[in-house]
Amino acid sequence: MIMIVDDDVAMAENCSMYLESCGFEVEVAASGSEALSRIDGHTTELVISDCAMPNMNGLELSKALKAEPSTATLPILLMSASMRCEVAPGLSYDSFLRKPFLAETLLLEVRRLLDNTSSNETYLKV
């Protein structure tokens, strides 16, 4: 299951609809803290999170997931509408997309990140 986290519900749901139409199982959370309470190391395969969110932003969520042993290896894709390089390589995330982006680019990144994990069969809907 892919977890999409964005306080912009329209963005989260549109990404969700697109990825579902490509065959993925997707869930949506409207905040970092909501996502943190719903993500677990067994069913969640990938987290796609917006950077700028109130309370817990994408980087904080990412750090929290990497710090927890059960979710430490979970691939994380951050997205942001900001041009400012507030997300620099080496921080606790695996990929980054600047909004707006092509749906095809999102799909390629999702496939690439999931291909890097060992159990990529489980997230695809049969």
């Binding site: 963005m11 041009m83 707006p100 982006f101």
Partner: protein, 384 residues
């Protein structure tokens, strides 16, 4: 009486005059006495101490130009500028405070007793130089704060526009991905997607234009990149979004080098978009990129109306380009494109220490030519 002695002994009287003047400035009307005096005492004490220190010709010249080295991390004049900006004073009002300070000190000093000795005249000259220095420091800090604030404002504005734009764009792509939808819906979806892409480009060009005008130039982050792939991808994208246009592409030579691939993709894209927008619709657009040991040349050619020489010269400067229009053509309804994209191209090329030129004739059409030398520009990671 030497000026330094006067300043230190009559500091309170000088500050009362400063306070009286500052209270006439609108944003300071309700300010307290401490707020009105702000850093004036510190500025004056620094000047008085400076007057007591021997000074050579070099130091005098530097000070009169506002170039004297500062020993303190923040001078009193710089801190004063920050404080006045917080109180809402504009740059002219901060300058006026220093003018008033200069006038008050010299008037009160000369009222005390007429100046006559060569040392006192020397004091007056040095005092003026010190005020010039303080004024320059203050304005430099004020301008920097203003630039930083504008830069931050633009970054937030860009983020705030792109966020909903991301949702619009993704929504349109969800529609386009569903081929079971009626063709009318898919057509509308494509229009929404293309328009959102155009808005994104305009926002990006506007932000780049604004930030480079704030003095930072366009930031580039060079890395090893194959410009053939970058260019090919830009051409493919243009073909996808403009299926009605013919775009021919040719690549030759060694096209791998140290460049900011993303920024050059933006520059190539802007030039190709320009050719699509201004070229004759039924004609072909030629895109070519070639490389040798010295550098890389990128060219875009389209058939279109000949651009007059006067317009060609201003083509990369949107402000000048706008200014040379007749007044009747300066309304929003007459100006369909400010030409920000070409300005951004020029700045990206400049950041790579390259050159850009344009020619326009009946025989060869309109041709943009970019040359990028194989040297590594200074690494400047993007700020906005």
């Amino acid at each position: 009486m030497r000026l330094s002695i006067f300043i230190l002994s009559d500091l309170d009287e000088i500050l009362r005059e400063w306070e009286a003047f500052a209270s006439t400035i609108v944003p300071l009307k309700e300010a307290t006495r401490i707020e009105l005096r702000d850093h004036a005492a510190a500025v004056l004490k620094v000047i008085a101490t400076d007057l007591l220190t021997p000074q050579g010709e070099g130091a005098r010249d530097a000070k009169s130009k506002g170039l004297a080295p500062s020993l303190a991390l923040d001078t009193a004049a710089e801190t004063h500028a920050e404080s006045r900006m917080s109180s809402g004073l504009n740059g002219d009002q901060v300058m006026a405070e220093f003018r008033a300070l200069r006038a008050s000190v010299l008037r009160l000093w000369t009222q005390k007793e007429p100046i006559s000795s060569p040392e006192e005249i020397e004091d007056m000259v040095r005092f003026n130089e010190a005020i010039d220095q303080a004024q320059t420091e203050s304005m430099a800090r004020y301008s920097k704060l203003l630039r930083d604030a504008q830069s931050m404002f633009l970054a937030i504005l860009g983020h705030d526009v792109r966020s909903p734009l991301g949702a619009v764009s993704m929504g349109a792509q969800v529609l386009l991905h569903d081929q079971t939808l009626p063709s009318k819906v898919l057509k509308v979806g494509l229009r929404i997607f293309n328009s959102s892409k155009r808005v994104d480009e305009i926002v990006r060009d506007l932000l780049d234009f604004s930030t480079s005008h704030l003095g930072d130039g366009i930031p580039v982050d060079p890395y090893t990149v194959d410009l053939s792939a970058v260019c090919s991808s830009v051409v493919e994208e243009a073909r996808t979004f403009h299926p009605d246009r013919t775009i021919e592409f040719a690549a030759s030579g060694d096209l791998t080098g140290t460049f900011d691939g993303a920024r050059l993709a933006q520059a190539f894209s802007n030039l190709i978009s320009n050719a699509i927008q201004h070229g004759f619709p039924q004609t072909c657009i030629q895109v070519a990129i070639s490389g040798d040991a010295q550098g890389i040349r990128f060219e875009v050619q389209n058939d279109g109306e000949v651009i007059p020489e006067v317009k060609l010269r201003a083509l990369f400067d949107p402000v000048k380009s706008f200014a040379i229009r007749p007044p009747s053509e300066r309304t929003a309804s007459r100006v369909q494109n400010l030409g920000l994209g070409l300005y951004v191209v020029k700045e990206i090329v400049k950041a790579h220490e390259g050159e850009i030129s344009v020619s326009s004739t009946v025989e060869t059409g309109v041709k943009f030519s970019v040359y990028l030398p194989r040297i590594t520009p200074h690494r400047r990671v993007g700020e906005v």
